[in-house]
């Protein structure tokens, strides 16, 4: 098996994690880094003598091309960097969220129409064991038609005004909704299908320019309705904590990072009626290398497999644009006092 030589663009916290996985997982190696900070460039040159260092993506694509690239820069630069890589036919894994708005990312879809290469958006939450199990149960139809969905994402991150690009909407696209909570929006679309309309409200507690809290009501194309509630200024949540509760005609499903529970009225999907519970250790399977959690390893392994075989993945740019459209619609609704916003019907 040929070793896949991968580049990392943006050597911050997530860039380092992806660099570690690229370098440490079997069958891949870190070959290049694009990083604008001269200080970090110097550190990389000192400690990674075999890794090429560039200050701009244009330098990377004008030399020997890597077999794939991971983009872990601030959100506002994703589209321009991914565009340059796709034009050079380099498969990309783009950190989430994909872009500041859905419209901004449409040229990436057009570039893929011209010349398709494997592409992925880093919604690693899809690789968390409990959520994978929950989606599998939903896909087996154990709940019957889903009627109602309740969901939340909380973390105690921002109890006073923050500094840095995440709190500058021109670079981040917005506050908690588009940053951490884009994971929950992506999960809702992944688990319950396309969204027909949303209405949203956003609130600032501590930030000057971005929202610290969002509450949004959803109508799914399937007919299910529900809401999400999210904040990064929520006490007692040490790490980002997502939970989802769904009610269907045949029972209920609860899922969070710790466990999945279903209660079924009638047997379905090979399960008897009544309560079923899967805790994290029930679902855990080892990974060849765990750095920031197995979900990142599984995501990178999925991406490398796609690069190796030239195949697609579920969490691709097209899916990222659909998630982004829901986020855009929640912001648009919030700006108009919560008026419902219809989304265009898209096929999944």
């Amino acid at each position: 098996m040929d070793e896949i030589r991968g580049a990392v663009i943006g050597f911050g916290k997530l860039g380092l994690l992806h660099a570690g996985l690229l370098n440490g997982l079997p069958g891949a190696r870190l070959s290049a880094v694009v990083e604008s900070s001269p200080l970090i460039q110097r550190v990389i040159r000192q400690h990674f003598p075999t890794v090429e260092v560039f200050s701009d993506v244009s330098e990377l694509v004008s030399g020997q091309l890597p077999a794939c690239a991971v983009i872990a820069t601030p959100t506002g630069s994703h589209v321009q960097i991914a565009g340059a890589l796709l034009e050079a036919h380099v498969p990309v894994l783009i950190e989430k969220p994909l872009s500041i708005t859905a419209g901004e990312a449409v040229p990436l879809a057009a570039a893929l129409d011209r010349h398709w290469v494997p592409n992925m958006v880093g919604y690693m939450g899809r690789y968390l064991d409990t959520f994978r199990k929950a989606r599998e149960l939903l896909q087996h139809g154990v709940l019957g038609p889903v009627r109602m969905v309740r969901s939340s994402m909380y973390i105690e991150q921002l109890m006073k005004r923050g500094e840095g690009w995440r709190y500058d909407p021109r670079v981040s696209g917005g506050g908690v909704l588009i940053t951490q909570n884009s994971h929950l929006v992506d999960k809702l679309c992944w688990m319950f299908g396309d969204v027909r309309s949303v209405s949203g409200h956003t609130t600032r507690f501590v930030s000057a320019e971005v929202e610290d809290h969002v509450h949004a009501y959803f109508e799914f194309v399937s007919g299910a309705v529900g809401y999400l509630d999210a904040s990064w200024s929520a006490r007692h949540y040490r790490t980002p904590t997502i939970s989802i509760h769904a009610q269907g005609d045949n029972g209920t499903l609860d899922v969070d990072d710790d466990e999945v529970r279903v209660c079924l009225d009638s047997p379905a999907g090979g399960l008897v009626s009544g309560w079923h519970r899967w805790r994290k250790p029930d679902l855990y399977q080892g990974v060849p290398l765990d750095i920031g959690g197995p979900q990142y390893s599984l995501q990178m392994m999925g991406f490398l497999q796609a690069v190796r075989s030239g195949s697609g993945v579920e969490s691709d740019i097209a899916s990222g644009i659909r998630t982004q459209r829901v986020i855009d619609a929640i912001y648009a609704s919030a700006r108009s006092g919560g008026a419902p916003q219809l989304l265009e019907a898209t096929s999944r």
Partner: protein, 291 residues
Amino acid sequence: MTLLPRIVLGHNAFFGVDHLSTRRGAERAAYFSDIEHVMSVVNEAVSHGAGGLMLSTHPRATAITDRLRRERDLSQQLQVFPLLPYAQKYVTRANELGMVRVVTSTLSEASVRDKAGLGIDFLRTVLRRDPLDMVRALMRLELRTFRRLDVPVVFLHDALADLLLALDQPMVFGVFEQTLRKRFGTRAGVATKNLPYLVHRFEQWGLRLPVILTHVNKAGFHVNPGIDDCEAVLQRTDLEVMAMGTLASGYLTPDEAFAYVRTLPAVKSLVVGASSREHIAETFRAIGLSQ
């Protein structure tokens, strides 16, 4: 080589870390915000035979080490095993400041707070920005919490250690080990979620294997790449492994959990979590330390 205490009390419950239940973690963090509740569990564990306390550099650790320094009778029976850095603190701050500024601002804030002890040295480090000097400076900063306590081993947190293993960076492990040995007179330990990977890397680098802190449980929870590979390594008698997560965060019963760990010669010491008197009694009975 000093012998490791057979039982080391873990700190996760005190700081709200719970790998099985986020809600239980948050409830325990609230309960243990009262230092008296922490000290009651520590005393109870020592009376049952615990000889060590694992302690990350969580903001609340200072209150615990202050008490241990004051209570000499207790601290003479209890070795302290620091785990650093407290990764979540840096990860959350990095969201705001970016990684370079997290390090430089942590160091410069410390130098302003404590000019006499650290000022000049720290600022010079910040200005020079040599990454390995930064490692030494951050170690000094984090280890201040543990001064005048019996610290036989200092562990490097798995969040950092596993990244360095993956990036093939032996030099940082070398600096960590030398700084601990020369400046602090203690041994280096490394926490990992990738035991066979770590052993392979260290042997490839020709570095002496550190004391290893890693998950060991028959449920295979947090055991990578899988239980068979880890068991093969844990059969080695030349390794010093401190086993954590032996109960798989409460998924296994103490009896089945410890019966399994006893079959693995590399495991020299157990890190056990405890949040109440009843919990301690059950755990230590299962280990075979008390009736």
